[in-house]
């Protein structure tokens, strides 16, 4: 299955950048949780990375075409698991998102991104030429179903990450720019309706406080103001490792998770930010390169599907961690604390490496 010569075609630079970001994540999880006594979250994160590497080896070794060919099965299995979570999952902090396993809680919505990327790669890959309206409708339906299930948990943040997957793959598949424009206008027109009927109060308050954080400086706006202070007070070179005040003194909530990038920005300053941004940009551009080099269309689409949710999450989380976007429960892939996210992300990169590695095989 894994031919020896393929080893030479693994994109080691991309692998190195991915693991550099993982290491950075572990280091800043350690820093952000150092103030708590007996916190070993960074160790848990290390375990997640080890498991993730295991899963990654699987998604790398098996020819990606085997995955895309069987993606309808993967997709159906995914829907079943999401239904299971919705009705029988573990409730934490008011949301039903997790399946309790013996060692950790599995969050299936994280794997939905890969699942949807696979099924869309297969769907668009089988069609030639510019996708028709009906194609887009079917692809949209394939995206909307898991998205709806996840949004019901509720986990709007993760649900929304499926939208870029659809858009990116459809765009690459040749969707007319006109349709993209119509979709955009539709979104603008629908937004007030969604605002009125679709969003819960806490979601509305997050968005409205984003527009004016000071209107609720103690509540939802607090995190945003604190995030800006955290990042801004870091300065050019930062306050030094574990010497941040905002993160260490817990002015920033869940610093090891949603706001890990703020901690980095505080302790390593603008210099550290540039390094991390550079690594992420490298990973993304290198992955786009993989899409370009792909041997077939499903390969390109698969790479882009996986990359789309990753890029969206990276951009959103970093913007949020600087207090420049509404606070959402969206983690920073590869760096934030979280086992399911780490495993799913590494599995996704396994697929990307897989596509690039097999660019010469038949």
């Amino acid at each position: 299955m894994f031919e020896r010569r393929l080893y030479h075609h693994v994109d080691w630079a991309l692998v190195a950048a991915i693991f550099a970001l993982c290491a950075l994540g572990v280091v800043y999880i350690y820093s952000a949780t150092a103030a708590r006594t007996n916190s070993h979250l960074y160790v848990t994160q290390l375990y997640a990375i080890v498991i993730g590497v295991g899963v990654m080896l699987v998604t790398l070794s098996v020819d990606y075409r085997a995955f895309t060919d069987k993606s309808h099965l993967v997709y159906c299995g995914l829907l079943l698991v999401l239904l299971y979570v919705l009705f029988l999952g573990k409730v934490e902090m008011g949301a039903r998102r997790w399946i309790p396993l013996r060692v950790f809680n599995l969050q299936p919505s994280e794997f939905a991104k890969v699942g949807v990327a696979l099924v869309l790669a297969k769907f668009f890959g089988e069609n030639r030429g510019v996708p028709a309206w009906s194609d887009l409708a079917i692809a949209g339906l394939l995206t909307i179903v898991p998205l709806g299930l996840i949004a019901r948990e509720p986990d709007l943040g993760t649900a929304v990450t499926l939208v870029p997957v659809f858009l990116a793959v459809a765009y690459l598949a040749g969707m007319r720019m006109r349709i993209l424009g119509i979709l955009f206008i539709g979104f603008v027109l629908l937004a007030p309706v969604v605002w009125k009927f679709g969003l819960k109060d806490y979601q509305k308050s997050r968005i409205s406080t984003f527009l004016d954080p000071s209107q609720d400086a103690k509540g939802a706006g607090y995190q945003q103001i604190q995030a800006r202070i955290t990042v801004g007070s870091g300065g050019l070179t930062g306050k030094g490792f574990k010497h941040g005040t905002q993160g260490q003194l817990q002015f920033l909530p869940v610093a090891h998770n949603d706001f890990i990038f703020s901690v980095l920005a505080e302790e390593q300053g603008f210099a550290g930010v540039l390094v991390a941004l550079g690594l992420y940009l490298f990973v993304i551009l290198r992955s786009l390169e993989a899409a370009r080099l792909a041997k077939d269309r499903p390969g390109s689409y698969l790479v882009l599907g996986v990359l789309a949710s990753f890029t969206f999450q990276v951009l959103y989380n970093i913007t949020m961690s600087a207090g420049l976007a509404p606070v959402k429960g969206l983690t920073l892939p590869l760096m934030s604390y979280g086992g399911s996210s780490m495993i799913a992300t590494l599995a996704g990169f396994g697929l990307i490496l897989n596509v690039r590695m097999r660019r010469f095989t038949n």
Binding site: V231, G232, G235, T245, L277, Y280, K295
Partner: protein, 626 residues
């Protein structure tokens, strides 16, 4: 892959590539703006977030008596406050805190509401002087009450609660005081009465501050630096704690014996004006003020008929009665109007300007033929009516003032009031009336318009003792600013009267007789083996010049005076004891006796006399004496 597809994919991937690069550039610029361009602003905000300045209150200076015994010190009180800065649910905090402290939640809420407009980082004090149980209860609930602070503040402690009016009390500075003194700031604790007030600048010390790092819920994580508070200067007073205790024991016996609960005593060193003992009764507990007196206690103090807040020793004005007679005698002798041998016949009463004046010996048939010495010893009224009439009010005023009466003593305590020795000029100025010669008769025995403060009477006794130097009573002997004790030069005398010592001797003879001869009115003050000189006085209560028939009503009884000094040669102690409604001067002489016994015992290194009781004091409740 068909060529067409590959080309399209290539183009669209490039679009995405530039799109992503563009977005990352925007992010990088945003971070540059936040972290570099606006860094200073956010750095300050971060510091305000996590750095707190905690004031450290300076302990006030410790106060010692002349022998180094501690009179006023500091103890640690614990205050419990709410700091709202990081409070999520203030009402929940109030509910829980009230429950933990066992206070009424409505009361706590009202307190918080009163301070709601202040900055949130400023603590709102809920309990000023918490009990140990309250401190423990809050400590136990620390995790649920992260916004509740326990602060240790040095608080005044008045040992044995002696001499309340002398020490005065402390309290939070008021707006007028802040406006008047730029070194004070709102919230400072300053002296409001007594030496706490007059020596506030020395006692106050300098507050310190510490800068601490707090976390997001306001808990102190570590200390950055600390400016230690500087303790106030230590003061050594002229007060002798043993004399002070003797005075207060004597008064207590008078109170326990049902004689009186009110009065004043001032004991001086006649050589320099050092105050050895100083009392005004009834008193209050200055400790109650140290941790903030509540409305209930305050109201009960100001509404008390006995006026415990009044410092009778410097603010009470009383008729001196017969204790005034030495001033009249001195005026007569110095002005050459009488000699010691001038004799007056006392039938028990006499008629001046058509009005009948009585001697206290009237019922026993009067003193008969009597000279100056005996007139003082036996306190003959007719004698002094007669000579006062001969001398005239202005000359009496001159010599009484020279001895210290009717004037301010200049003692280093706030709010002293001035007494009054009348003169023709005084009457013309204040009442726009001519002085009638008939009015001089009552002045001769220290009644009528004459009113004096106990402290001026102590100066009077000192002047008689030292031959006419009007010493300035003062309480401060030495100051320690941290560099060792330094003597404070005593204040200069208010005046020195030009008195012929020869003229004083017959008066002193009379005063000696008061204490040391069987017919003396103050024989109860006698101390075996010591030459004590004194004079009793029983004065009608001002405003009640007509003797009411029912003297069993305590408030209508005469005030009892005793002025004294000792020993006769080179006197070292002089003073006055006044018992409000104490009936006779003889009862004041009994209290004086205990004070002098204590003084001489201490001087000789003998054991101090036992604490007096009503039984050992044998107060005289019979009425007639004057």
């Amino acid at each position: 892959m068909p060529h067409e597809d590959r080309r399209r994919i290539g183009v669209r991937l490039s679009v995405m590539q530039y799109f992503v690069i563009g977005l990352f550039s925007v992010l990088a610029v945003s971070f540059w703006v936040l972290q570099v361009a606006e860094h200073a602003k956010f750095e300050e905000m971060a510091e305000n977030n996590n750095q707190r300045t905690v004031p450290l209150r300076a302990p006030r200076g410790v106060v010692f008596d002349r022998d180094g015994q501690v009179l006023v010190e500091n103890r640690h009180a614990y205050s419990i406050s709410i700091v709202r800065e990081h409070t999520k649910d203030l009402n929940a905090t109030i509910r829980l805190l009230a429950h933990v402290l066992q206070l009424d939640p409505a009361g706590v809420k009202e307190l918080v509401d009163r301070h709601r407009r202040e900055p949130t980082y400023r603590p709102i004090m809920i309990v000023q002087d918490a009990t140990l149980a309250q401190v423990t209860a809050v400590t136990v609930h620390k995790l649920e009450l992260p916004d509740v602070d326990i602060e240790q503040i040095p608080t005044r402690r008045y040992v044995d609660a002696l001499a309340a009016h002398l020490f005065g009390y402390v309290g939070e500075v008021n707006d007028a005081q802040v406006a008047a003194d730029s070194s004070l700031k709102s919230g400072d604790i300053v002296g409001q009465q007594g030496i706490e007030k007059s020596y506030n600048t020395l006692l106050m010390g300098e507050d310190g501050a510490k800068h601490v790092v707090v976390n997001s819920v306001g808990r102190e994580i570590r200390q950055l630096d600390e400016d230690l508070a500087t303790e106030g200067h230590r003061l050594r007073l002229t007060i002798d704690a043993d004399i002070q205790k003797a005075i207060e024991d004597g008064f207590k016996a008078a109170g326990d014996g049902g004689l009186t609960d009110a009065g004043a005593a001032v004991i001086l060193d006649p050589r320099n004006g050092e105050v050895l003992g100083f009392s005004s009764l009834p008193a209050y507990d200055p400790n109650a003020f140290a941790s903030g007196v509540d409305r209930k206690v305050w109201n009960s103090l100001i509404n008390d008929d006995q006026k415990p807040l009044q410092d009778r020793a410097i603010q009470g004005r009383y008729s001196p009665g017969s204790t005034f007679k030495m001033a009249v005698a001195l005026a007569g002798l110095e002005e050459g109007i009488i000699t010691p041998e001038t004799t007056v016949f006392c039938p028990g009463h006499a008629n001046f300007y058509g009005r009948e004046f009585h001697c206290w010996m009237d019922r026993k048939g009067g003193h008969g033929s009597i000279d100056l010495r005996r007139a003082i010893t036996e306190s003959c009224d007719v004698y002094f009516y007669t000579v006062a009439n001969m001398i005239g009010v202005d000359k009496i005023n001159k010599w009484a003032t020279a001895l210290g009466l009717g004037d301010m003593s200049g003692i280093d305590l706030p709010n002293e009031v001035q007494g009054l020795v009348p003169s023709t000029q005084w009457k013309l100025q204040t009442r726009h009336e001519k002085w009638y010669a008939g009015e001089t008769i009552s002045v001769g025995i220290g009644q009528g318009a004459v009113s004096v403060t106990p402290v001026s009477m102590a100066v009077y006794a000192s002047s008689l003792a030292n031959g006419g130097t009007r010493v300035t009573p003062h309480l401060l002997k030495e100051v320690d600013d941290g560099g060792g004790w330094k003597a404070v030069p005593p204040p200069a005398p208010q005046a020195t009267a030009d008195i012929d010592p020869e003229k004083l001797e017959p008066i002193r003879d009379g005063m000696w007789g008061v204490v040391n001869t069987p017919r003396g009115t103050g024989i109860t003050a006698k101390v075996a083996g010591r030459d004590v000189l004194g004079k009793t006085g029983s004065a009608q209560v001002v405003g009640m010049q007509t003797h009411a028939a029912d003297k069993t009503n305590k408030t209508l009884r005469d005030n009892g005076w005793f002025v004294f000094y000792a020993p006769r040669e080179n006197p070292t102690i002089a003073g006055v004891v006044m018992l409000e409604h104490g009936i006779h001067g003889g009862n004041a002489a009994r209290v004086t006796h205990h004070i002098l016994e204590t003084y001489f015992a201490k001087l000789d290194g003998r054991p101090l006399p036992a604490t007096p009781t009503p039984d050992t004091m044998k107060f005289d409740f019979s009425d007639a004496d004057r």
